[in-house]
């Protein structure tokens, strides 16, 4: 009865230590905050310039007028900062250079340790998010949430992006056991995620078939779900259902990651081992 809480406490302490180390590592590179803010800010401003030109001609597209579209891309900025803000190259590099063999010797679960590090690195990205949100609130005048429930559920949906994005990232770094280069895998995943999440362009503007496919993929919860909830494009019950589905995807991706890890680790070959 007493060993379980102790083991649990020890596990959480390890998670927290890894999270703090990763946060500090990320926070140490202050130039990256500036660059991250500038890159994300450019993406946001480019999207706004594009839709400003389009909406000047059409008035509204896919149910988005200028106010809603502006708010949509501010939400997309936030969700992208969370979904793409984590550090993943280090974990991938450990597999590529064989250091994963050392990880196998440690009394720490590999997947859980990487999850703690990933979360820490996302928290280290908070200044970028803070700068972007402050500038957006001051100059872009985004709409308020459709209701209190919509606001609360959209925040829950954004927070769930952390385990969701980790699940996707972990699956992709598993591919490093079979390929020498992680860049291709990283770029492909990010591009597909940006497209099917709606971060690049609202899914409501895409053909019905693409929307139907996207609805069955986990990426949709990265931008479309929180923005639909926030803007009141779904009612409260639908919003709860979407958040529940997002939770289900987090669990499914975690379990899938576990299965892949158990298989991938068998192909580790280090220094003739």
């Amino acid at each position: 009865m007493t060993t379980l809480p102790l083991a649990l406490r020890h596990g959480l302490a390890v998670d927290f230590a890894l999270l703090v180390i990763s946060f500090k590592r990320r926070a140490a590179y202050r130039t990256q905050w500036l660059v991250g803010s500038l890159v994300s800010g450019t993406e946001l401003l480019t999207a706004l310039a594009l839709w400003s030109a389009v909406l000047a001609e059409r008035g509204q597209v896919g149910g988005y007028d200028w106010d809603a579209m502006r708010t949509y891309y501010v939400i997309a900025f936030v969700t992208a900062a969370v979904a793409f803000g984590g550090t993943e190259g280090i974990a991938a590099q450990r597999i590529l250079d064989g250091m994963v063999a050392i990880d196998l010797l440690k009394p720490v679960d590999f997947q859980r340790a990487r999850a703690a590090e990933y979360t820490g690195s996302i928290l280290g990205n908070l200044p970028t998010l803070g700068i972007g949100l402050t500038v957006s609130a001051l100059f872009l005048d985004p709409l308020p949430p459709a209701s209190f429930a919509a606001g609360a559920l959209s925040v829950a949906s954004v927070l769930l992006i952390i385990p969701l994005a980790f699940g996707l990232m972990f699956l992709s770094i598993m591919l490093c056991f079979w390929t020498r280069s992680y860049h291709g895998v990283l770029w492909s995943r990010r591009t597909i995620t940006a497209f099917f999440s709606g971060a690049m362009i609202p899914l409501a503007l895409m053909p019905d078939a693409v929307q139907a496919v996207a609805a069955w993929l986990p990426f949709v919860h990265i931008t479309t779900t929180p923005s639909n909830i926030y803007l009141g494009r779904v009612d409260t019950m639908e919003a709860i259902g979407l958040v529940a589905l997002e939770v289900a995807w987090c669990v499914a991706l975690w379990l899938l990651g576990r299965v892949l890890w158990s298989r991938a680790v068998k192909v580790v070959t280090v220094h003739g081992g």
Binding site: V35, T46, A49, V54, E57, R180, S181, G184, A194, M200
Partner: protein
């Protein structure tokens, strides 16, 4: 006088060939990167298609002119990926002192660094970029008589792409850290901003992208000339800009190498 350029060209070709042989040793990586290139371009085309499913023109540009715009950017980028992708490693090489080794060899340092890697996604990008230009060209009704002009503009676009990125990478000689932050930032801004006609941006953004960090000369200016948005006498500007950037980048690289202090820099 002719020996040095010939020697440089021959050594450069050998370096790139060595890289090519190295990447063909890892076919899985090659196909991963080729597939990545295809995915990136497919998503970009899908993006434009979705936009044009909702509007007839963007800043006065139609779908086919937009395809040409993207095609020029993709090809200019792909050519630099084939022959100059190593430039992205210059920050790491400065930090580790690897430039020491390059300095001792009888070839320009930046050329050795540039030729030290090949971007394997370039194969797919060259193919898709060519298709984009061909389809865009036909759809926009651009005259075949402009093909020589297009080839000149494409050559200038490659020089502009290569020199701007190299100049931005060279800031690593003055900044601490292994990553080429400004080059990364420049490339991201280019990819985000210049895939659309510059008319959709405020005047100062247009001015900055044309005359300060002249990414507009990679795709916007060439396509504007070919589609008649700009008069033909604008053909004089891209070669001039390419020449100015070549000289400026050479001077920046030389100043950077002069500042280089070996390992522990």
């Amino acid at each position: 006088m002719a020996v040095r350029p010939r020697h440089m060209a021959s050594t450069y070709a050998r370096l790139i060939w060595a890289q090519f042989r190295a990447i063909t040793e890892y076919p899985a990586d090659f196909w991963t990167m080729a597939a990545t290139g295809l995915i990136l371009q497919a998503v970009q085309i899908a993006f434009i298609a979705v936009v044009f499913a909702n509007v007839t023109s963007l800043g006065g540009w139609g779908f086919h002119a937009m395809l040409m715009l993207m095609g020029f950017m993709v090809i200019a980028d792909a050519v630099t990926e084939v022959g100059w992708d190593g430039i992205w490693t210059v920050g790491q090489r400065i930090i580790t002192g690897d430039i020491d080794y390059k300095i001792t060899r009888p070839m320009p340092v930046m050329m050795q660094v540039g030729a030290s890697a090949i971007g394997m996604q370039a194969a797919a990008n060259l193919t898709t970029g060519s298709i984009m230009i061909a389809v865009g060209w036909t759809g926009a009704g651009v005259s075949a008589a402009l093909i020589p002009a297009a080839l000149l503009l494409l050559a200038c676009a490659v020089v502009v792409q290569l020199t701007v990125i190299t100049a931005l990478c060279c800031t690593a000689f003055w900044m601490k850290g292994p990553s080429v932050t400004f080059a990364f930032l420049g490339a991201q801004i280019q990819e985000n901003a210049t895939r659309f006609p510059l008319q959709i941006y405020p005047r100062f953004v247009r001015g900055a992208l044309t005359w300060v960090v002249p990414f507009a000369f990679v795709n916007f200016v060439p396509v504007s000339i070919l589609t008649g948005e700009l008069p033909l006498w604008w053909l004089a500007f891209p070669p001039l800009m390419a020449a100015v950037l070549l000289v400026a980048t050479t001077l920046i690289a030389r100043a950077g190498i002069a500042r280089y202090e070996s390992a522990g820099h």
